[in-house]
Each structure stands twice: as C-alpha cells, then as structure tokens.
Symmetry: C2
Subunit: 188 residues, 2 copies
C-alpha cells in the first residue's frame, strides 16, 4: 500500500483509540492490531509515538476547521451557528457519555503528563474559541466576544465531564435548554 494511505489510516485509527482509551493507555500493539500492521512497521511511517499524536492533533485541527466552515454555509444567523456548537453535546451524546470531549480529555491528559504537545492540543480549543468569538462579534458584541466564547466553551466542557461521569442524557438536555435561554439574550 502507498505510504500516504497507510499513514492516513494509522492517524485515523490512532485518533479513535487515543480518544476512546487515552493517549498513554494506547500502545503500538493496539494501533497495530486495529490497522493490521506489525509493531515494528510503524517506524517506517512515524519516528515515535509522540509524532503520531502530533499528526492526530493536526488532523483534528483540520477537520474541526472544515466542520466550522460548513456550519457557516448552513446557517446565516450567528446565533444558530453558536447553537449548533452548543448542541454538539446532544449530537455526539453517546460518544461524549462514553469517552468525554475529545478536546477536553486530551488537554487534561497532556497537562498531567506535562507533555511537549500540550500547547498543540490547546490549539484545538482555540480553533473553537476564535470561531465562537467571531460569531458573537457578528451579533454585535465585539467588546465582550471572547468572554462570551469562553463561557460557551465552559458550558461544553462542564457538560462533557459530568455526562461522562454520570452517563445521564437528561441532564445534558436540561443544560442545553439553559444555554439556549442564555444565548437568546445575546441574539438579535
């Protein structure tokens, strides 16, 4: 198989496993078994486990940007776009209940490890933060746009952690409703 295709498959599988089991808890053997490659062969594609993580983060940043760009074409009203983000916790409810937020849990894990790629992982938050900030600015709240963006991120992370701990779908819906009410005070 071509190098590029195999590399992309490794990143895709590693992405899923890092999310489901965590970075530390995922071994080369795990990725190899899922991809269908021998352990030693990874080193043809990546020079270390960290470099796989780097590629995974890069891939997540890119796919997040694509998703946000798509939301912009699907909704003209910035408030609808923001609600689209808020509702991720419902849309991806099963994954989040099982494994938490992919961005939040990765940042939390890398912070404990004091890992070199902690800063790169934080960029994943920043992609959302910047985009949310822009939406609030479009709604006419340029002066407090970043603060409001952070508040929406705070909501999403809090819901993700507790929905993961309690696996409670109803709790998530109540929090989303509360957020919708809050957001309506900032809409046009």
């Amino acid at each position: 198989m071509s190098s590029a295709v195999t590399r992309a498959r490794i990143v895709e599988i590693a992405d899923r496993l890092f999310y489901e089991r965590g970075y530390q808890h995922t071994s080369f053997a795990d990725i190899g078994a899922a991809v269908g490659l021998s352990r030693g062969n990874f080193y043809y594609h990546f020079k270390s486990k960290d470099s796989i993580l780097d590629a995974v983060i890069e891939s997540r940043v890119a796919s997040t940007r694509r998703m946000l760009a798509e939301w912009e074409t699907e909704h003209d009203d910035p408030a609808d776009r923001i609600m689209r983000f808020v509702e991720i916790v419902v849309t991806n409810g099963p994954d989040i209940r099982a494994h938490g937020c992919p961005v939040g849990t990765l940042n939390t894990e890398l912070a404990k490890l004091d890992h070199a790629l902690r800063g790169r992982a934080r960029e994943l938050f920043t992609v959302f933060r910047t985009w949310l900030r822009d939406q609030f600015a479009l709604l006419g709240h340029a002066d407090q746009a970043d603060d409001l963006a952070m508040h929406v991120l705070t909501f999403s992370q809090g819901v993700a952690v507790l929905s993961n701990a309690y696996r409670d779908e109803e709790f998530v819906r109540r929090e989303v409703d509360r957020m919708r009410d809050w957001l309506s005070t900032y809409s046009r």
Copy 2:
C-alpha cells in the same frame, strides 16, 4: 514506624501524586521516593496499586465530607455555602490551573481506562452533588434542587478544564461573577 502511620503517609503522598501526574503516570517508584520507602515494601501495606487508589478515594471522600460540614458551621445562609463551593476555583486557583480539578480529572482518567474503581470515583462528585442539592432545597427550591446542583457542578468542571488548558486567572473570575449573578436569582 507503626503500620497505620506509614499507611496514612502512603495514602497522603499517593493522593498528591495521582492528582499532579495522574494515576497511570504515577509509579510505585515515584511514591516510594516521595515517602522514603523501598518499592517492595509497599506490598506489606497495600496488595496492589489499585488498592492504593481505593484508599485515596476513600480518604478524599472523608475529607470532602469534613470540609462541607465545616462550611455549614461557618455559613448560616445556604446561598453563602453554595458560593463557597463556587469560589473553590479561585481559592484553589493555582492547583486547578496546574492540575485541573482533582475530582474531574480522576473521573475522566478512570473512564478512559474503564477502571473498576470508576464508580467509586464518581462518588466524589456525588458527595458534592448531594450537598449542593440540600442547600438548594433549603433555599426553597426542593423541586429542582438536583438540577440546580448539577448546574453548579457543570460550572465548576467547565472552569477547571479551561483554566487548566489556558492558565487564565481572569477568565475564572469572570465566570465566578457570572455564577454569583445567576445564584442571586435563587437566593432569598
């Protein structure tokens, strides 16, 4: 040294290291170096790493209950007690910026590991949840007390994750102010 004292010291050190570095990332050698005990000697006190974790959780549950009981003697108004909880993210700001919330990060990590003690760790959340629920009930909101308690927990977890990722003290203060405003609508 007596068995009980050594055991208590192991739990205390392990508690701190599990918080600072995470459970997986903390080895017996790490704990041993900090306590001043040889690796092999742990097994006189604990039969496995998991049993140390169990003791750490037990210890955290007990100290949390003590803390909450103390808050009840210090504040007569349930709203003041709730604010005392809300302000943990400021009071323990440096630790939370550096290592996240001890309860949230442990729950997140154990969920990824699908660890046997996940349920025990969740009790740590439940201690706070039940106490907060009781305070809202005292404020006359018995019908929605658990929902309000979960909302306060959601705030604390969201703030902890983002304050850990961005190490931003001002962000925390803004969120606490927002929470104070919200809480005032439920006070007497």
